[in-house]
Symmetry: D3
Subunit: 326 residues, 6 copies
């Protein structure tokens, strides 16, 4: 089971200019064959289905623990898409009647983000097709599952690089810069696991595609902080044997790999503003706020919401979006 923490693994910029077609491209990193739903659910299923896990504990712990990190990755991709879509609809007629607020996205690549969704992330790829269970590989054969995972991370790196090249939206770049770094760590982890089991040295395949990670500007801050050589342990008490596999030199830099015995601190999520044209969270969001305040009061909770979000408003960014919407 899991405990959930209401923070992102890395800070994302608040919404700026909307970029619907960019957001459609980022969907590949969510629901594509090599998207984060795939990494999350592949490793999750493999850990669920792991037979003889006591005998193979270091490997079980590795797969299970990386699965836990991947949850945070789909969260980041969703936050990025939502950010890129914010402001893409107009705010309506102002008189409460319905207007042309979505006419600006009639030719957008993925109209279901608006018609079915609330200007939000979908479990779809960049061509608007849903993620499906055929993307999961869980053979139970440990060497084979690890080979798959190495290949999956390689394909994921490829797709992230291309999405990087496709949109320069600040949120997309913050996302891909971070994910390229973290995906690299997982690629190393699986290569190391295969090496420990069979002796085959896959580290010579790094980097694939053959662009060094440190040539990507948005990766550099993370590399400077050491994020490229560090495996976090995403559990209060479990998965302690990852250290038995994740060790030795980093294939690109030669630095020693390290296990961090807790989750990263992360960052507060942005509270993305309502988009009333798509009724998210409502046509009159203030009515919900009033009800929420009343409920909070009845339950003896503080007057202000207890959950924390990034302090976007102080920086005037919410206003900027609001301006755009009015």
């Amino acid at each position: 089971m899991i405990l959930r923490i209401d923070r992102l693994q890395v800070e994302l910029p608040p919404p700026t200019d909307p970029d619907p077609d960019g957001a459609a491209a980022v969907q590949e990193l969510m629901g594509g064959r090599f998207g984060e739903m795939s990494t999350l659910l592949n490793y999750t299923f493999q850990s669920f289905n792991f037979r003889g896990r006591q005998g193979a504990r270091p490997f079980y712990d590795l797969v299970a623990n990386i699965a836990a990190e991947e949850y945070g990755h789909i969260e980041l991709v969703a936050a990025t898409i939502n950010s890129m879509l914010t402001g893409a609809s107009d705010s309506g007629n102002g008189d409460g009647s319905l207007g042309d607020a979505l006419s600006g996205v009639k030719s957008a690549r993925n109209t279901q983000q608006f018609i079915g969704g609330g200007q939000g992330a979908l479990p779809q790829d960049s061509n608007g097709r849903p993620w499906n269970g055929d993307y999961i590989f869980s053979s139970g054969d440990l060497v084979e599952d690890l080979t798959h995972n190495f290949f999956l991370e390689t394909g994921a790196r490829n797709n992230k690089l291309k999405v990087y090249e496709m949109t320069a939206h600040p949120a997309a770049r913050a996302l891909t810069g971070y994910l390229l770094c973290r995906g690299g760590v997982h690629q190393i982890a699986y290569a190391r696991a295969i090496e420990k089991l069979t002796g085959a040295d896959l580290t010579k395949l790094f980097p694939t595609p053959r662009i060094p990670t440190d040539k990507i500007p948005e990766c550099q801050p993370h590399i400077k902080r050491g994020e490229h050589k560090r495996l976090y342990r995403f559990s209060p008490d479990d998965y302690r044997e990852i250290v038995a596999v994740f060790n030795g030199p980093h294939p690109e830099t030669g630095e020693e790999l390290e296990v961090v015995d807790h989750a990263p601190e992360g960052a507060l999520p942005n509270d993305l503003p309502p988009q009333t044209a798509v009724f998210a969270p409502d046509y009159h969001p203030e009515e919900i706020s009033e009800i929420a305040a009343r409920l909070r009061s009845s339950a003896g909770l503080p007057e202000q919401p207890t959950g924390q979000v990034a302090a976007a408003e102080e920086e005037g960014l919410a206003d900027k979006v609001k301006d755009k919407l009015s």
Copy 2:
């Protein structure tokens, strides 16, 4: 992001007689339209896509927190399927050559559990079709998402009851007994949320289908322990406002609903034995064990695996399975 805990939310019995067609039926609770992948990923996406979450915090917290519990549900369904499949293949010729170890499941309903998987759970439904992203509804409109969630839980209850009736395998019954109880709590939570927002009283729809939950023998122990009226908070520090929505009387029993401020203690998972006929985790699992021991030693870890599993062996159950396999 999440922290993962290597425990199940409820205890499952160790493997007994295999039941491949029963396991194929239980797949509906995994990858069917109303399966646990759907509840998990619907609420997860809705929480990711929630706009204006500060203004609607009690509702955001509710959806996000139930999403966290659902992760534990797909884990339980997988463990059940894996348990029901254990022992369904023979152990082979004994001389290391390949034989007819899978001939006994040639007419099983879902042969991919064996051919593609390692006698393991798949992200598929009971007809062997993959779960897909079209099963997710995340409109961003709060009232509508909650209406959906209430309907989803209703459909899920229906399917669990039918799977209950279809197989009496102890693991399947332990699973459905628990999930019916917990799903009922989520159904109540969403009904209450709708009521708080609109005034509509959906509690009169309980139970749907119209069989009282306490008429199901395997639900009774959980009801006795109060699991039917309790919402756990699956987070170290967040989602504190669920209490603002989840309160009032239980629609079936009239007891007061309660929020538990932490996750349930849960139970240790069974360490399901290798199934060498399908190479899970290997054709020679003992080789992996040796490597694992060496790695543990090099890393300065204890000699014995650090992770905990249910003490199946002491009860002779692993032997029973082993006997069957030899």
Copy 3:
């Protein structure tokens, strides 16, 4: 638009022994590529999309009118499947608790008919996969659409013959006997339309597969009544120009084709008994009946239900099913 008549186009026998795997096979005639959903929706879409329909009125009328008949065909296939599934679950423990009522169908070919459905027809094929819109061909090119339709009816005839051979259940045989006859009429209609437009004589392709329709025992009564040479007009006032295309000799028998200027009389549907194990229509159907009676009374309707169903009960058949269920 349509008016709906609560009668079947032909009489079906009441439920006898259940035949779940036979019902799974009949699903091919519902949701398969050549099933009745395909014939219905192909002709329906072609009629909706017909451009320049005044200039091509006889052909428009033909396609639109056959589409109307096909609605009755999916109705018949559903009724057949539902009939074949009736009695396939047990009636439960008798004490209102939940038991093993579905254990008898755990290995049935299509378990979703029970888990997702209420022992009922699904929009799926015989391998349990859903019908989908890719089965529709609507190019707008009249000659090509007609060529498709001729091919579609040919494929449909093939599949019906095989389902005939696969199950001898009385309902399945009544269904295929009738549909083979009516499908033959549509095949002729499209062949004739192509001939009128291009001069190509497709009637030499009859019958395909090359078994004469009158060699099929269950077709003979319909042939005797002339159903094989008769096109009904399924409209109060429209589609009068079908007669301009559907004329000339029958390709197999040489008899003159004829247009009947109204719908067939048809037959009353059987009122299939509740199956409480799957909660259809409820766990306690008698409660619904009481509510229904009250509502009828409040609305000033007769005490007895106004709709008509086949007089199954008098023949003791409902009892037979009831016996089986208890």
Copy 4:
């Protein structure tokens, strides 16, 4: 079975300027999860699969009768899409050779409307994916099916509002204005049915999304005519018990709901002009017209087509399209 009437349930404007991307958006109302194919086929299957229908007659009649109305809705959506696509191709080189007539739609969102179709409606959603049978819910459990239907109508309302906002094309607006009104009636009908069965009052959920229907300009004429509180009976003689469920006050206006004992008069469809670039109905439509005239004459039919279409030509609208095409 059905009788088909060659009229639309409401008048649609004749083609004006083409709007291919708008037409791609309207596809969501055809083949999307919440499109009219879904409402039509959900209620149709539920009525086919209804067990114990005599005992639950008012509810059976309600579902069966609404299913009948929905047939007219897919017809309207198709007519709208076809209208919006009319004129989107050029008329070709004029010398009978093939040219660039489709180059203007090379970047259109749904190119299959042109390549596979004849500038026509497809059974697809707004992302170009086919409708499929997984969108149908037919559990057989009456309360649950009705809960689903209420949710389905809610989702459908959401999607219609968004398509309304996405394109201001006159045909799209005429469509959504009408469907929002009629969908609202179905939403009420299902809410009332649930209330009658369980006592739960869902009318407090109206409207969802929370924009009053009368704030939508294109709904107002229909509201004025009372279309928002009226359930038509789409059958010559059957489904008479709908009145037992559909009664009481309208949830938004308080007016008394009423049952109309026949179908609406409706309107004649537009005869959409040929689009020769896509060979619909032919590369030389006049040849078909000549053949049709000959066939009519041979069959003793009047010289002029007997079917009726809207008198578009008198208003010069066909010419306008023709001008555009030349």
Copy 5:
């Protein structure tokens, strides 16, 4: 089994201006229901599954031999798409870091050609959906399979004509001009086969759609060379009985059909230049070239690559693309 020849069946022009949306449209001819994957795999499966082939040898040979030709057609479609995509990305920052090289195709209709693929052809249709096995019809009934094949070729002709009209890119026009000609031959072959078996004369259906093939400028050179009346035998020694079916007059021109007893000479493929922005074949293709040269040398092969490609460079076309990229 097959032998593969590294030549195209017809010459294609080298890359000129990129046309991503045109390439997305051409995908329909690859992975659409009527694309070349469908013709290839339909006839291939029919030949594999042919029962009693000795007794029906001329028909078996016909289907098997046309299947062989179709392999060359998917090759041509792929080459066309790849050609149209060449140059659609920029060449990057020049300093080895990653830039915005794909920003120009962010709004392209099929972004997976870039993100998942290497600016390359995908097994998808023009709406970006994958080809699937449901497009194959292989009933085993010879008359029916041939009827299907005739219809399939008819649909394929329709789609090719529309793609022709949609993009005037030189590669697309070279492709469609050739395929329309060759597809016409297959259409004739199947019509003749049906006629031989049943007497039905389908040649009156030619041409469908009703535009004469010789009205298409890009078909004329092929017609002049006689490609429209010629069936090649794609085998060293087998399929000699095709001549027993493919004979008689051409339906459109009256010329005698002829069998050519070998494959066409074809043309050398263009060696499409690397696209480093998508890492095809690498971020630094010259490194691969060096390795290749070394490997060639070690294996005693000539210094220069032994395989042949079209002499694009001499014509300065590669430079033109190179210029565009720099």
Copy 6:
């Protein structure tokens, strides 16, 4: 383009006892994610999409040439399935009327092999779902495509081993014995290619799953003949540079790898007998034979069919099947 040779790559036994559920399992090797359609079409697309092929010629030749061999593999899988299905239907009533000839397969796992197909192979997997284009990976990045191919062959080996264990039918065993051997060669080829490009030694991963190939009895004859270390060149003149990659010691046996400069001799296919119950190739196959003889005569061909098939009849095997059928 290709030339097709009417021989199988290896001899298969003639039909013996039918094994429908075994045939359903073998479908995984046809249309599963790791089936032969996947290997064939992955390598085919990669070769079509290969950019800069002159510079990377040895690698291009390798992928293109293995693609050619894979065509022969789908042919073998189809022949195996068809063989295993032969005799699974009864021969009918004998009087030309239709009977229960398919009742014996009503509960077979894949009824579409009979209803849609002619007791024949389908492009589906072992759960009856169609192969689809999402199974193709063609990134254009050479290292990545090769990594994928290595993983694909690994997964394919896993699935073949399991199918081997699932059915002992002689045709299935002959198939898997051969394919395991040949797949191993491809696995080596891709490992070697990766090693040549990057230095990474994947040969230490052999065998995966970890059962030595020579422990599989049906592989031994092929190993004795050297099939496990031999890459055939499937082209009259092309792909000569494969020798630059495929060399060095065999990872399991240490023997020197070798390139054979032509295709294998192969074996004649069995002429599988008609199955009249499914109309394959006809309800009266002798009528087709008579027409074929006439056509052959008119075309000046020999009286007897010119194509060659295995001399099954002499061995009395066709009679055995015939006996079973009568």
